[in-house]
């Protein structure tokens, strides 16, 4: 393994000043579950490693004025155990629950999952369906952007070397909304996602879908909103039949995204089951018939 200097700042200010000093060759680690492996395998080199996990101020979940604010250093376990996330933001809860293993979830953070921009990240897919915003800070100041703008292509983000992702926030889902995330993998633990599907639906008082945000992950090179599915759903009653009516659309979308990939045959069929499971969970959340038990 190669050598580096190690810094473990206790405050955000200290971390930001370290980043601006070492920005030519620096790696930030939080849980370290992705980056430490890259450092060990020399896939990634840096002269300075800044471990931000001791900055206690960046580990929180709070709901203020209808906005859910999550500190970047909240671990997957923190989010899984947070009663608000579990009961009111089911898509994010499931995305966290399906990450790696208990050991990985105890270390890994939501900020790291978002900033690392892996093709196979679970939480970015859920966060895009929640239309989340990320907060980036540097010694020079602060900027915010939608998470969709934060991703600028496969594995790339807008994050500068001297910046830290400090917070992720999104509007708290209202009582008329339901969210769900389904991960398809080869087994439950320690698998890379094959397909991730995140959905947020809002209904009006007549059970008509008034808003739909649908995101598919791990198929294209980064999670994508599916406007054709969203347009199909808006204005239709929220029923099992409506959902069944778009299953073939999912298949076609997946085929169009990766027509030449070896996995296309499997993914275009299995996405129907993934959609089914996701929408069943939405029906259940709305206490409508056809939902899972």
């Amino acid at each position: 393994m190669k050598e580096f200097s190690f810094f473990s700042p206790g405050t955000l200010d200290e971390a930001l000043s370290l980043l601006s000093q070492h920005k030519d060759s620096v790696s930030v680690i939080a849980g370290g579950t992705d980056i430490v492996l890259e450092l060990n395998e020399r896939a990634h080199t840096a002269q300075a490693v800044v471990d931000i996990s001791k900055i206690k101020d960046l580990r929180y979940v709070k709901v203020v004025d209808g906005v859910v604010r999550i500190g970047a250093l909240s671990t997957f376990t923190d989010l899984e155990n947070d009663p608000y996330i579990r009961d009111h933001v089911k898509s994010l809860y499931s995305a966290c629950y399906y990450v790696g293993s208990p050991q990985i979830r105890n270390l890994g953070t939501i900020g790291g999952n978002v900033a690392n921009a892996s093709v196979a990240g679970d939480t970015p897919t859920a966060l895009i369906s929640l239309d989340a915003t990320v907060v980036l800070r540097s010694a020079a100041g602060k900027r915010e952007m939608k998470i969709t703008d934060f991703y600028s292509g496969a594995g790339k983000t807008q994050l500068e070397k001297d910046e830290l992702l400090t917070e992720i926030y999104f509007d708290a889902p209202t009582e008329n909304m339901a969210t769900a995330y389904t991960k398809l993998g080869k087994r439950k633990a320690l698998v890379i996602v094959v397909i991730g599907l995140a959905v947020l639906l809002e209904r009006d008082c007549n059970n008509i879908c008034s808003k739909a945000q649908v995101v598919i992950g791990a198929v294209a090179r980064y999670p994508k909103r599916l406007p054709s599915i969203e347009h199909y759903l808006v204005g239709k009653p929220i029923t099992k039949e409506t959902f069944e009516g778009c299953r073939d659309m999912f298949s076609q979308i997946v085929y169009d995204m990766i027509p030449t990939r070896a996995s296309v045959g499997y993914k275009k069929e299995s996405v129907k089951g993934v959609a089914n499971k996701t929408f069943n969970s939405i029906l259940k959340d709305f206490s409508l018939s056809g939902g899972e038990e």
Partner: protein, 157 residues
Amino acid sequence: MDLMKLSFMLNGEATEIMVDPSDMLVDILRERLLLTGTKKGCGKGECGACTVIMDGAAVNSCMIPAMKAMGTTVQTIEGIGSPNQLHPLQESFMDEGAIQCGFCTPGMIMSAKALLDSTPHPDGAQIKEAIAGNICRCTGYVKIEKAILSASEKLKG
């Protein structure tokens, strides 16, 4: 690269050691502190053999740069019982025949201990979830689950 001083509580004792910051915790435990009960399997957080308990949570010590342990409380398999007084989990693993080659056992027991520390009376699903990050290639999970259940009953008293 300059060595750094790591101070942490290891199995109940204040421990100080000079480390290279690019060393992983598992290597410090095994090679420097000679606590070889913790095993190193895949080195990538996928097998769970290196599981230790850090500040109350089960973690993979193979993906923790040693200096990340600064100021924490770490427990390894050596710290939960002694040859004369085994931890109930250690007893149950023997009684239930939950050990074959033994390589995964310390990690399994540490994951199980983290579970029992936070959830003294787990159900089957919680037990399976707690050891989901630990791989046994002799494939004896049923006996391991039984052993954890029986240890939880012993702890109930």
